[in-house]
């Protein structure tokens, strides 16, 4: 009858709505905080990767020739090299790289630059600072290095990915670090995935949940997931690098690396580190399989294994893969255990097998950030971008794989 009575406010409805709005705002705030932090991180890294640099040459290219180096003929470049380098140095170069007569123009130009001109970065200024106070910075550089060249430099270049490590930031690259990281991840997944999923299947599907031993086991796995990664490093050092040195150095396989500080040790240590996380996330995925699906399978006369293989695992696989993605991200970013297991800080040979010595991206980044020369921070920033790119592409692969598997019906 009386509509205003029907729709008039009862109790504290408007207060309840206000509380709802308050919490909605709070959650939005949390999300925004997260996004801001992520943004700051990326901006900082980019800021350091692209900088304004002041470069001084040991020898001014203008004194070597009347034209820019790029325009000189191969013969003229060879002439410059022969005139300016000591014969002993020339012989070393010819032995290490190639005879001068066989080099092309680009190689010769690069050689003249690194051997004679020797450009050195004297100062570098982060991107945003350079953009906003360029005039001030230029004046500052002019007063300190009157003959310096000033230009923008991207530290992340194709060359940076290709070059080996070096003690000079201008010449250093991440070639071995990228390869080392990929090798380690490969070994980690290869070892941890089957063991982790297998253990999860046993604990979830076969083990008696009420038995004391299994409960203790479960608690321990959960605790292991929280153990600091450096502890796993110590374990890896003791077990894989030392005790099992004959295996991890490849001695028993006839490819002795000399010590157990190899990719195999690193990968196995990482596998141990991520196993608890992988087991727990796989267990969660298996637990999320509806009981009705299992019952349907059993009611058809399926055995436990047929039920697991045909129904439980396919249903849980996307969840298991999500856990694996997180695991891979974790392993890719881990640094501490690999320091103990013995990542090499200066290595110029590509890893050839699991018995090669190695370095990884995060380890390399760490190494560079602790060096005194500020330019190492620039290549560390560039390496962080490389690490992010590797991480994103690995995860993208896993996500595509997961979506294809879960779309089967």
């Amino acid at each position: 009858m009386n509509r205003s009575v029907v729709l008039s406010e009862t109790g504290n409805l408007s207060v309840r709505h206000q509380w709802g709005k308050f919490f909605q705002g709070l959650f939005l705030f949390s999300t925004v905080i997260g996004l801001i932090v992520l943004g700051i991180l990326i901006v900082t890294v980019v800021d350091k990767t692209f900088t304004l640099v002041a470069v001084t040459n040991k020898v001014d290219p203008a004194t070597l020739a009347d034209r820019p180096l790029e325009e000189l003929s191969e013969e003229e470049l060879r002439q410059i090299l022969r005139e300016n380098l000591r014969p002993a140095r020339l012989r070393t170069i010819e032995r290490d790289q190639a005879p001068l007569d066989e080099m092309n123009q680009a190689d010769l130009t690069a050689l003249v630059t690194t051997e004679i001109v020797k450009p050195t970065t004297r100062a570098s200024y982060p991107l945003f600072q350079s953009l906003t106070r360029r005039a001030e910075i230029e004046a500052e550089i002019r007063s300190e290095y009157p003959d310096a060249q000033i230009y923008f430099k991207a530290w992340l270049t194709w060359d940076f990915l290709q070059r080996s490590m070096s003690t000079k930031p201008d010449l250093a690259g991440v070639r071995q670090a990228v390869k080392g990281s990929l090798w380690i991840i490969f070994i980690t997944i290869l070892v941890a995935f089957p063991i982790g999923v297998g253990a999860a299947i046993y604990l979830e599907e076969y083990a008696d949940h009420r038995s004391r031993i299994n409960r203790i086991l479960q608690t321990n796995i959960e605790n292991l997931a929280g153990v600091p990664s450096i502890i796993y490093g110590i374990l890896g050092l003791a077990v894989f690098v030392r005790t099992l040195a004959l295996i991890t150095s490849g001695a028993v396989f006839g490819v002795d690396a000399g010590s157990g500080r190899t990719i195999l040790s690193g990968g196995l240590t990482m596998a141990l580190l991520v196993l608890p996380i992988l087991i727990i996330s796989s267990q969660e995925a298996l637990r999320a399989v509806p009981r009705s699906l299992r019952e349907a399978s059993y009611a058809m006369g399926a055995t436990r294994w047929q039920t697991i293989w045909h129904h439980v695992l396919p249903y849980a696989l996307p969840g298991i893969l999500t856990g694996t993605i997180l695991t891979v991200s974790r392993a890719l970013g881990e640094t501490a255990p690999l320091i103990l297991v013995g990542a090499s800080s200066l290595i110029n040979k590509d890893p050839q097998s699991v018995f090669s010595f190695f370095t990884t991206l995060p380890f390399q980044i760490y190494n560079w950030t602790v060096r005194p020369q500020p330019e190492f921070r620039n290549i560390a920033a560039a390496a962080i971008l490389v690490l992010l790119a590797v991480l994103l592409s690995l995860n993208a692969t896993a996500i595509v794989l997961r979506n294809r598997l879960s779309k089967r019906i």
């Binding site: 949940h209 019952e295 009611a299 058809m300 055995t303 047929q306 045909h310 249903y315 019906i409």
Partner: protein, 261 residues
């Protein structure tokens, strides 16, 4: 009848069946003889142990921690809980349809074919699938879409798919645990018609909350209720017409007339 071994005559016979969850006795002293190729309905209020009894017939309770039983459930004269009986084997002979339709997340074809395949069926799979879908009155609706997901069907169709899936394993008995409680009245009627057809070849035992359904669709009815210890007991068992028109026990009468439960 009198010449035959009695225990062989019934599809399933329970003798002093007691079912326990841990220390709790869920079902007490049930003696029930299921007549072959008939529909037997088990009715009763919530918590009276009717589903527990039904699930003990194909040993689905084995998965419940703490479950154990006393007494005997005889199938072809053999105790289903004898130590040498493999529960997997039991479920091939005694199929089950659940309360909520639960097709596998696979194609319609695979839903039906899977059970037969894992049980080692070697014959023509297409024929078997068609036969099972026809027997479940689903063939005409799905014959052009056998590759579609079983989950794309409506609730009633899903439940008939689950029946077809159970039939493909060639059971003798089909247990139905409130198969229509998630369905609308029209889908419910279709399932009831289907049960009637299937009872020519299969023994059907159905647990239902719906008394009209029991009255409409079953040949025999068992009425369960709880005793003072909250254990399920069978109060009365007989032909459905007798139970609904002339119940012998006061409790049965109260329940079917709606005064209780």
């Amino acid at each position: 009848m009198s010449e035959q071994n009695l225990s062989n005559h019934f599809a399933i016979e329970t003798r002093n069946l007691n079912l326990f969850y841990g220390n709790f006795r869920a079902v007490k002293d049930v003696n029930l003889q299921i007549v072959p190729r008939k529909i037997t309905a088990i009715i009763g209020p919530s918590g009276c142990g009717k589903s527990t009894v039904l699930r003990s017939f194909n040993r689905m309770n084995d998965f419940v921690p703490g479950f154990h039983m006393e007494g005997e459930i005889l199938f072809h004269g053999k105790n289903l809980y004898a130590p040498d009986v493999d529960p997997v084997q039991v479920r091939q002979y005694i199929g089950m349809v659940f309360q909520k339709p639960n097709p596998f997340p696979k194609s319609i074809y695979e839903n039906v074919a899977w059970g037969a395949r894992i049980n080692g069926y070697k014959g023509n799979m297409d024929e078997l699938v068609e036969g099972a879908l026809r027997a479940a009155a689903l063939w005409d609706e799905v014959k052009d879409n056998l590759k579609k997901s079983g989950l794309s069907l409506s609730g009633g169709q899903q439940q008939r798919l689950c029946i077809a899936r159970a039939l493909a394993v060639k059971p003798e008995i089909i247990l139905m645990d409130e198969p229509c409680s998630a369905l609308d009245p029209i889908a419910t009627l279709k399932i009831e018609d289907l049960m009637r057809e299937l009872s020519e070849n299969y023994t059907i035992i159905i647990v239902t909350h719906n008394m009209q359904q029991a009255a409409r669709a079953s040949d025999y009815t068992a009425f369960f209720t709880m005793d003072e210890d909250r254990a399920g007991v069978m109060v009365e068992y007989g032909e459905t017409s007798q139970i609904f028109t002339n119940p012998r026990d006061k409790r049965t009468e109260d329940y079917i007339t709606g005064r209780f439960g």
